[in-house]
Symmetry: C2
Subunit: 120 residues, 2 copies
């Protein structure tokens, strides 16, 4: 019953049919979830090699280093993988607002009974 992917020490990402895993980035200092994006094998390798979070952009169909245009890179402190290795948790120090809207986090709205409520 023991699944080596769950219990072992080998990093064996379980990519979906598009070759991607989900990556959740949190801010080391605040604990806030900053963004959720996707990584393919190349994005994981680039992130580990550079220490700056790099994703695979599904809309653009290419690797995309967060902050490559804005300068708001995410400096990786630590990466963790979940039990079945289809999701990554990236703990990072953000160089600036993580969201393209200028908000510190992409999650700038709470879901309330009457709709969304801005929280920053």
């Amino acid at each position: 019953m023991s699944d080596p992917r769950e219990t072992g020490t080998a990093f064996l990402p379980k990519f979906d049919s598009a070759g991607l895993v989900t990556a959740v980035v949190t801010d080391r200092a605040t604990g806030c979830v900053l963004m959720v994006a996707h990584m393919n094998a190349d994005a994981i390798a680039a992130t580990r090699a550079s220490g700056e979070a790099t994703f695979f952009s599904r809309s653009r169909g290419r690797l995309w280093k967060k902050g490559e245009t804005s300068g708001n890179v995410l400096r990786v402190v630590e990466m963790r993988v979940d039990c079945d290795q289809d999701a990554l948790w990236v703990i990072a120090d953000p160089a600036g607002p993580a969201c393209h809207t200028g908000a510190p986090s992409c999650f700038y709205r709470r879901i309330g009974d009457g709709g969304l409520e801005r929280i920053d």
Copy 2:
């Protein structure tokens, strides 16, 4: 240029082709990412109505309340949505270990240079 999905107060989840959005659950007390799963419209509605995190299980093809068997439910404190509304952040109080392996979080391994390192 202003996208009402990004700037507005209407909750309009952007479901993928399978009818799902990504849901990231963190522990209110520790800030840890506990798990990453998926919700469809029914799972979102069930979560909001019950106050306990409910997901759509892709492997079982049905709604799945976290803890329905183990008792380790995730009591929802707050839900947030990201800029393009294809991901949810669920802040929760876990009733027990979030991972089916018994670990407090599904993210119990750090990605190190030599492989995965257990952290709990």
